[in-house]
């Protein structure tokens, strides 16, 4: 990968309190390496995107770009401070957004995306910000750092003191995240127990159970922070509208399947359909995948990021799928009416000049 391999440094960038100091640390490391080798080094600031390239919402994209611009400025500042204004810089900077065409979900997905960029640019060292946890963190998940180290990179954790204000002692969980997950777990516990809120036994077991659930899972459940109440409210309302449609589709699916299964000649036409879904994010993809499985003649076999592999049992099933009705509904539930305008999978495939 060239002789820069040892010198160049990659910094995964995301919103975090300690990003500023992480940049300084990365610049220092790159500078040291450059001086040692008597050349120059490059620091790559890489922003792993959580959105898809055709997403209508520009706010995320703008936020990413302005954050990357800021890291570039910070980098320049740091190198000036190290060398003085007049000395020619030993460290160059690059910034980019990666993963816009993929559905990145877990720490390992993020490590894949970052790792691919690093390999393409011959970067061997990655400086991670301990407060930046793409894909969330949980005791059950391997961390972003471990995933990167597994891919053969030299991973350095920036020695920044974490903000104690933001996360509760001994955890990665902020107070807001903790409260939301804890409260909903406790409510669920009481609902199952028949609302005996005053019973001390129920109270103690409920608090203990909710505590365990929160400590183990809040890092995943709230990995993007606590969502805005208004947003959640609208999503729930639209989801409420989606449920009857889904139930109707499920009923139709079952009548169709019952017909096929009980028909003496078993008139099936199985095939495998692949398509890229225009949904992104954990909940929407899960909802779509499960809805596909529950509706007429189709079964989700695999979802890898944006690509769905679907098994269709009944001849009409493939056409239904390509019309993208479900997909549009799922988009409506999670992103509101605007996003339903995105063309159907069939139209998108035609646009790509594919065989349709």
């Amino acid at each position: 990968m060239g002789d820069n391999h040892e010198r160049d440094v990659l910094v995964p960038v995301g919103r975090s309190e300690t990003l500023r100091r992480t940049v300084t640390y990365a610049v220092e490391r790159a500078h040291e390496a450059a001086v040692e080798a008597g050349g120059s080094a490059t620091v790559h600031f890489v922003y792993p995107a959580r959105w898809r390239s055709f997403e209508t919402e520009r706010a995320n994209v703008d936020a990413a770009e302005s954050l990357l611009e800021r890291t570039l400025l910070w980098g320049e500042e740091d190198i000036d401070e190290l060398l003085g204004e007049d000395t020619p810089a030993t460290v160059a900077f690059e910034s980019t957004v990666v993963g816009t065409n993929e559905y990145v979900f877990s720490p390992s997905d993020f490590a894949d995306v970052i790792g691919r960029y690093a390999d393409a640019n011959g970067v061997g060292r990655i400086v991670v910000d301990p407060s930046f946890r793409p894909g969330g963190s949980a005791p059950l998940l391997r961390s972003f750092e471990t995933e990167l180290a597994d891919r053969g990179f030299d991973v350095l954790e920036a020695p920044v003191t974490r903000e104690t204000r933001r996360s509760l002692p001994l955890t990665d969980i902020g107070l807001a995240e903790f409260s939301v997950v804890f409260a909903s777990s406790l409510l669920f516990y009481f609902a199952l127990g028949g609302w005996h809120v005053t019973d001390p036994y129920e109270l103690v077991t409920g608090v203990a159970t909710a505590g365990v659930v929160t400590l183990t899972l809040a890092g995943v459940a709230m990995k993007n922070g606590v969502p805005a109440v208004r947003e959640v409210g609208y999503t729930l309302l639209r989801f409420g509208a989606y449920v009857p449609i889904l139930l109707w589709e499920i009923a139709k699916a079952n009548v169709a399947l019952a017909y096929v299964v009980l028909h003496p000649r078993l008139p099936i036409d199985p095939r495998v359909v692949e398509f890229d879904a225009a949904v992104w994010g954990d909940m929407p993809v899960t909802t779509l995948a499960n809805s596909i499985t529950l509706t007429p003649g189709t079964l989700t076999i695999d979802v890898s990021r944006q690509q769905f592999v679907v098994h269709a049992l009944i001849p009409d099933a493939e056409d239904d799928l390509m019309e993208g009705t479900l997909e549009r509904l799922v988009r409506f539930v999670f992103y509101g009416r605007e996003s339903s305008r995105i063309p159907s999978p069939l139209e998108r495939r035609d646009d790509d000049g594919g065989e349709a």
Binding site: I250, N254, L257, I268, P270, A289, N290, I301
Partner: protein, 112 residues
């Protein structure tokens, strides 16, 4: 019998019917993926209808709230379980029955 009991009976009978369809489908359909259709769809609706029937009998109570949760979890978990089985089938290069192009089979041949 009250109308509610008729409704409950109809739901349970419907649930039993779809449970029957799931069983017949599981036996008759060819191959892993086709059988999963029966196991995931009919089985879900069968259980959902039966549980809904019980909830109607119990009326508004903690028990029917629990059954409500049960319905939600059934609708969430059974497609997920089917997905897990189908996916592991794919990872193990299980071919779908019938004259079907399975993209993952071709890919694997290229790699090997």
């Amino acid at each position: 019998m009250t109308p509610l009991e008729y409704l409950a009976a109809a739901l349970v009978v419907g649930g039993t019917f779809f449970g029957f369809v799931a069983t017949v489908g599981l036996l008759r359909l060819p191959g892993l993926y086709a059988r999963l259709h029966a196991a995931s769809k009919s089985d879900t609706l069968g259980s959902v209808l039966a549980v809904a029937g019980v909830a109607v009998v119990l009326g508004v109570s903690t028990e029917s709230l629990k059954l409500g949760f049960l319905l939600v979890f059934l609708l969430l978990t059974s497609p997920t379980a089917a997905h897990a089985i189908a996916r592991s089938g794919k990872e193990q290069n299980v071919e779908p029955a019938g004259d079907v192009d399975a993209p993952w089979i071709d890919e694997e041949e290229g790699d090997a």
